[in-house]
């Protein structure tokens, strides 16, 4: 079926056009063209915007703003984003990374959306023309999201405080069994003063491991110190079952991989 593509110079005009029933936003195409190829007849029209504010990366005073149209490849090779490059490189193969955008990744259903897991651990803000909102608020309401995402912003972590792991069966690249991003802050004596841990594939969208985060506070990142966090890692999760892994398997291996990530 023919799909009409409308291109707008500004996000505002694209937002207005997106209100039409059956219309979806076209970023890199890895979600919406895939849906159309699969025969998703709910997609009847596509909208995109060439607004230059969607395509820039700015790093200033430790704060990062990434336009929603920026690709995973552009993030992975950006000289000032080395600390989070591994999360961008975890997405797809080289061709997918040249197409997939940071904005689209926020909407990718599990088992996809590994970069959004990283953004959740980084406590990112998601920008639209209506302003910014915390990524958790955005993710909770993304299915009914009426506005085009324009940017994500976050504080750049220190290179050694951002940890990321994508577990897949196919090496070097495959679909996620699960992914974990963690940002533990350590005090001078090595104990954890704060921690954010985000999980991918452990629900239909990225989620935080809040119980494990709490259990890490005041602990050292050694096998005894992380034991309580690993015991509570699965709290609140409802993992997906798909051809990659069952929900049971994901639940069983989550503490193993979280442990490996925290002990590295």
């Amino acid at each position: 079926m023919a799909l009409a593509l409308q291109t707008f110079a500004t996000v505002s005009d694209a937002n207005a056009a997106l209100k039409a029933a059956g219309t979806r936003y076209l970023g890199g195409g890895t979600l919406v063209v895939r849906a159309a190829n699969e025969g998703d007849i709910s997609v009847t029209g596509l909208v995109r915007s060439t607004d230059p504010t969607l395509s820039g990366i700015t790093v200033s005073g430790g704060k990062v703003r990434i336009g929603a149209s920026v690709t995973m490849a552009a993030i992975a090779r950006h000289p000032e984003l080395g600390a989070i490059a591994k999360a961008a490189r975890a997405v797809g193969g080289p061709a997918i990374r040249n197409m997939a955008t940071v904005g689209g990744n926020l909407f990718a259903p599990a088992p996809y959306g590994d970069f959004a897991v990283a953004l959740l651990a980084l406590d990112a803000s998601v920008g639209t023309n209506d302003g910014e909102m915390p990524i958790e608020t955005f993710l909770a309401g993304r299915d009914g999201n009426p506005a085009i995402v324009t940017s994500v912003s976050f504080t750049l972590p220190k290179a050694d405080s951002f940890r990321f792991l994508k577990v897949s069966r196919v090496k070097p690249k495959g679909v996620s069994v699960l992914s974990i991003a963690a940002v533990p802050e350590q005090a001078g004596d090595g104990t954890v003063s704060s921690a954010r841990i985000a999980l991918g594939c452990m629900a239909d969208r990225p989620m935080r491991a809040c119980a494990a985060e709490k259990a890490l506070i005041g602990q050292k990142l050694d096998p005894d110190g992380i034991a309580a966090a690993l015991a509570t890692a699965g709290e609140g999760t409802s993992p997906i079952t798909d051809p990659i892994a069952s929900a049971w398997y994901r639940t069983e291996v989550l503490p193993v991989h979280l442990g490996r990530l925290l002990l590295t």
Partner: protein
């Protein structure tokens, strides 16, 4: 619905076509220009058989809308041979028995070409990473990896 005019450069030749809205680049290349070297495997962005090079970057033509490619420079495997002489990558794939059924081969060669364009002397890990979005169900990958490394060596010897 009115058809959409597109024009692009395909392997050095100017092309102008009319496509229906929503036509993928893969279909435009195969059905309009007659270049059947990009293959339609999964149409989901999983297999890499449709890989082409657009403005120097590896892309999946099955997930790219043709009308977003107006004004671009597109390379496919069918444009690699010059005056009947195979490209070093094509030669190396044949010599290393890196192609069996052949369905993944044009995508593999495009992925490998982008790698060698940017990294003339890749490590084995570089090759594995570069081909990580392309699936082959015949070879077990090892002959393909060896072919790319052989082509890289042939290129550097020719350049020396």
């Amino acid at each position: 619905m009115a058809k959409v005019p597109i024009q692009f450069t395909l392997n050095g030749s100017e092309k102008a076509e009319f496509v229906e809205g929503g036509t993928t680049l893969l279909h435009a290349l195969r059905d309009k220009t007659g270049d059947t070297s990009p293959k339609g495997g999964c149409h989901q962005g999983t297999c890499g058989a449709c890989s082409v090079i657009i403005d120097g970057e590896l892309r999946l033509s099955c997930l790219t809308l043709a009308e977003t490619c107006s004004g671009t420079d597109i390379q496919t495997t069918s444009g690699l041979a010059e005056a009947g002489v195979l490209h070093p990558l094509q030669r190396a794939f044949l010599d290393a028995f890196a192609t069996q059924c052949g369905f993944c081969t044009p995508g593999m060669i495009m992925a490998a070409k982008v790698l060698l364009d940017h990294t003339p002397n890749p490590s084995r890990e570089d090759v594995v990473e570069a081909l990580s979005g392309n699936i082959c169900r015949c070879t077990g990958y090892e002959p393909i990896i060896q072919a790319v490394l052989t082509a890289a060596r042939a290129n550097s010897q020719n350049a020396a």
